[in-house]
Structure formats: C-alpha cells, structure tokens
Symmetry: C2
Subunit: 363 residues, 2 copies
C-alpha cells in the first residue's frame, strides 16, 4: 500500500534527552542487563532483542522456507523437513550494530541502545551451506538475500525485513538456519520458527522469522540493507555495516542507585569481570582502568565456549575509598583497539568506544 | 554503608523528552510488546519485568527461605523442601503500578513505562497460607513483609527490596510462593529461585528473589513500601498502591512505521483484539472507539484462564480509508471505568487512562 513518508523529523539530536519515538522503541526492544554478562550463555529473556516491526504470529504448520533465485533447484521446506536434517550446535555472540548509539553526540535518532545490545546463545539448526549446496548455486551469483515475515514501513516504504550476505560469507561452515535457542524452540521474539544466525556479523543480517532465501546476481539494496551503512554525512557514500568491531564490557561492580545507576562498593579486594568479543579476529587483550582511561592494567582472559562466542575476562581491583571511573578496552589481532572517545557516524553504527562506569567506594 | 543522596533532580518533567536516567532504566526493564497480547499466556522473555536493582546471582544450593517474626515456629526452608510441598498452579495477570507513567504530563521521573508493563504467566508453587499456617501466626500480627535478595540505594539509603501485604491479603488462597513460571524454573530476571505472586495486586508486592517472610505487628515502612503511594502532591498524605485498576489494551492493528509506530492498515473487515483485567472486581465491559473516544461500540468478551487472569476481547471494525484514533475502555463491577484523560499523581502510580492508537487506513 502507498503510505505517506513519516513526518519530517530530525535525524540527530543535540539534546541528551530522548524523544518519545525513541522511548517507544526502547520499551519494546530490550537489552541484556549488564549483570547478565556473568552468564557465558545468556538466559532466554535476558538476551537482547531488536524487532524492527511487530513480532509476527507464525503458524508453524503453514510456514515454509523457500530457496530460490540463481539456483539449479528451487527448494520449499517445511519446518518438519528442516528439523529432520542433520544439525549443528554453536555458541554465538550477537551484537546489534547500533549498540552504544544513545551515548553518541549528536545522537542519531533510532533504537536508543546504551550498551546492553549484546548476548550469547547456543543455536541449533541446519548449516546453511548444505542447503545452498542442494539447491545448486548458478554462475553469476554474488549475494544471498534473507527475507523475514516481519513487515513494516520505513521512510514511507512498506516492505518485509530483508538483508543479504556476500555469497562467500553465506557459505561459511558456521552459518546456521536455527530452529532451537538454548535447547528450546525459538521464542517468538527471537524468530520462531526459524532464523538465520551469521556468527561474527552484527545482528541485522541474522534475519528472524525467516521465510525466503534468494541467491542473486546483483547487489541487494532492498529491505533494511541501506539502513545499516556507516557514513560520516548523509552525502557520504559510506561503507556497509558487516562484522562486529572488537568490544569489551564489564559487569558494573557493587550495587546501584535506582535512578542514576551510579554504583556503590565497599573497600577491599574485588574481581572486576566482563566479556569481550570481535568479529574481525581473535581477541588479543583487555585492559582495565579505574581512573577514567588515564592508566591501564591488563585483565586476565578466559576461554570462549566457541570460536564465535565472547570470552570472559577478569581483573583484581584493590579498591580504596574514593570516587572512580572504571573503563575496559580490548584489542583484537586484526589491529583494532576500542577507541577512548566516540567514533561517530550518521546512523550510530559499529561504534565501540570504551564503557565507563562510575563507582563510589565507601566504607 | 552510608551513601550520599542522589543528585538533586527534578521529580517531574514538563518536557515530553526523556532523561538519560529514564532511558537507562528503559533499556534494562522491558515491557511486553503489545502484539504479544495475542497470547493468553505471555511467553517467557516477552513478559514485562521491572528489576529495581541488579538481578541477583543466586546459588540455589545455598539459598533458603526464612519465615519469622510474630510466628510460633520460625521456619527455614531449602529450595528442595519447598519444591517437595504440594503445589498449586494458576494463570495470573501482573501489571506494574507505573504502567502508563511516560504518558503523564508532567511526567514523574522513574521507570518510563508507556503501556507495555503487563503480562500473564502460569505460576506454580506453594500456597503461602499453608506455610504461614505451619509457622503459626501470633496475636497482634497485621502485615506480612516479603524481602528479596536484590539490594540497592534509593534517596541515599541502602536496603534490600521489601514490600508488605496486609495479613488478610497474605492469607488469601491464591497467593503463591512460585518456583515455576510457564512450566520452567523461574528465569533469573523473574526471581529465581523463588518469588511471591499476589494475584490482583500491582506487581510491586510480588517480591522476586524472595528470601525472607516476616510477620509483623506494626505497619511496614521500609524497603520500597513508601515509594508505591498515590499522592496528589509531595505534601499529600496519600493512599498506598494496592490492587490493579481496571484496564484494557488492544493489539495495535496493521503494520507499524519503524520509528513512529504509527499503524497502516488496508480497508476492509478487521477484528480488533485485546485483553482486559481488574484487581478490584469482575470485568463488566470493554468498549471500542475509532474516533478518539467520541463514540463507543461494545466489544465481545471472552473467557479468562483463571479468575485472576486477563480476559480476551474482540471487536469487528469495517475500516474505510481515512485516519483513525482507536481507543478501548473497560469497566469492572466495583464501579470503576477507565478514565478518558489522565488521572495524574506525583509518582505516576495506578494510572489507567484509555490507550490511543493512531491508524491510517489506506487502499
């Protein structure tokens, strides 16, 4: 249906105050409370979720997955057929590309994530490459487009949510068509009955309520593809959002004030802990600061549950009474290190500046 | 530990814009997306949750529940002991007393709920009255205080979350010490390993991470008890927040715009659906308006899964092209009807004004 464009509004806000539209998104889409970084596998209901449109009501008996486009054999599979196929199970860390957006200045107007848009789940399903192999990819194919059942309007254009992967990325052995999350059928908000899980990439490509896989010979520009783009200005050609930048987060120590979430901690020996991940390479190091990123101390890295899951880290802090600004900063072996200050872009994508947690140590 | 009071700030905001502190709460605490009103039982992960402080990390082997105060026998129970007791299972609708707060003007500064802070789950556990009976309530007892393991600071005061019920309410047969939600162990964010579920009351009394039950002879004024109070001014003596006011909500029809959540719908016959509940009496009626509460049409009421769970409602709408403002309004047999305009109070509690959904019907 033709719809009028949304009311002309600001794309950015110079105000630290959040608009009612942003709040409307924040109360629908929830982050992972940072104390849940204690879990190597995020419990269902604590794992962040971003649903651009409404969560579809899917009848699994009527649902099917279609594989089409530049393939030798068009495939149509029922949920039962997919569940009967050999499965793989993998612990995967997913992060929203807009994580940290609400901390940018000026603030891009969209889902106003602070720092909670990351989680790790154990996904079970069919390796995508086996299905694409059965369909038979034809010459000229360059991308694979994933289409969900969720529909909505953006900038006046009605469409289904869709996103593409380059063919080489879609054929990686760790890309899953998942029907199971943490050993349970996908919850509605995580894509029931089937979703893509593309490890290493920001979450926008891991299309939920998946119903169509289309192999194409031209770069895909529909669905949400144009939204996830890193630009320094609206005129900038920019680059697409792809893999997760290296990032570390800490469990805020101590106890919070209800409103400000400022932390209070007793003096003594504390183990500051958190998680670290990167979609670009192996994590090399995490450093911790208690003085607002002036001086740094190396943290100890633990083992990941899989090559595409976050790693735990810890650091012993002998806290004396006073006021502190705790930070953590990670590097990976692709040469990236988290920036101390914001790496701003028009839509607030792939920004990974260091977290800051204010702590009062009081006897 | 002594802590300084939170920075002096406004208690209300005349601005429709939301402060960073409110956003910090909104990204932690999530509502039930309104399309999930389609489910009679809200799936785990979609059910609203408000955690005032951090979600505690509870080792169930070291956890225990203590029943003390004005009782003949102090009881200390392990989780195994509680799970071994006879259970009851009940579908219960819980709503946060602050639901709708972000729609008030001026807006009380706290968790900025729009309308999503309600859900229904199937809770299983021990009836509280049986445990209180075993402990043996002594003469003079007037209230039962429930204390959680969650700790934090509010207005400069460190404390554990705690809330009380009048003794008569605590002894109702439908009050549950729940260890199971929708057939699963409580998720961490819903109070693992044990929580209170007090049907009919706003959610603040259904204390999570429950560790203490204290029968007292004086009105309890600690924990969060003083926060949940309906006052017309800070000086007003006010009345405590208790049972849920009658409220109906609708599933927003059609599809949304990503940012504004304005709805778009094709012309034709549509069944508008929703849920309705009240903690004060049986629901008597739901009426629907498509012209911004000018004219009303009766909706059809369905059956509830239990006497303390919401009821479904539906209304057939023959939608012609145009712009509409949909509303729903319920009444209960205690004589309450949802107000058309806000019923403001200092902390934004128990406000139940009619929902408004803007819909463009376009061919």
């Amino acid at each position: 249906m033709p719809v009028s464009p949304r009311r002309s509004g600001t794309i950015h806000s110079d105000s630290p105050l959040v608009t009612p539209e942003e709040l409307g998104l924040a109360v629908r889409n929830h982050g992972t409370p940072l104390e849940a970084l204690r879990y190597s596998v995020t419990p269902i209901g604590m794992h962040y979720t971003l649903c651009h449109y409404d969560i579809p009501d899917v009848d699994p008996r009527r649902w099917s997955l279609e594989v089409e486009g530049r393939v030798r054999h068009r495939l149509v599979l029922s949920l039962e057929a997919l569940q009967a196929r050999p499965t793989m199970t993998l612990s995967v860390t997913l992060e929203c590309a807009g994580n940290g957006r609400a901390l940018l200045s000026p603030r891009p107007i969209s889902q106003p994530w602070v720092l909670e848009a990351v989680g790790t789940a154990v996904w079970t399903g069919t390796p995508l490459w086996t299905l694409l192999g059965e369909a038979g990819i034809l010459a000229g194919a360059i991308e694979v487009v994933f289409t969900g059942l969720d529909r909505g309007v953006r900038d006046g254009h009605e469409h289904a949510y869709a996103f593409s992967l380059p063919l080489g990325e879609a054929l990686r052995e760790d890309v899953i068509l998942a029907h199971t999350m943490n050993g349970q059928p996908l919850p509605p908000q995580h894509g029931f009955p089937l979703r893509l899980v593309a490890p290493g990439w920001y979450g926008m490509v891991s299309v939920k309520w998946l119903t169509g896989i289309t192999v194409v010979a031209e770069p895909f520009r529909g669905g949400e593809q144009e939204v996830y783009w890193i630009k320094q200005s609206e005129e900038d050609e920019g680059v697409p959002v792809t893999r997760m930048m290296v990032r570390s987060l800490m469990v805020p120590p101590g106890i919070p004030d209800f409103l400000t979430r400022r932390r209070f901690l007793a003096p003594g020996r504390h183990i500051v802990t958190g998680r670290v991940w990167s979609g670009h390479g192996a994590v090399r190091s995490v450093d911790v600061s208690v003085d607002g990123a002036k001086t740094w101390h190396p943290a100890e890295l633990g083992a990941a549950e899989s090559p595409v899951a976050w790693r735990p880290w810890s650091h012993v802090w002998l806290a004396e009474p006073g006021e502190y600004e705790l930070c953590c900063r990670a590097s990976d072996d692709s040469g990236h290190t988290q920036p101390i200050t914001q790496n701003w872009n028009v839509r607030g994508m792939a920004n990974n500046a260091v977290q800051r947690v204010w702590v009062s140590v009081v006897a």
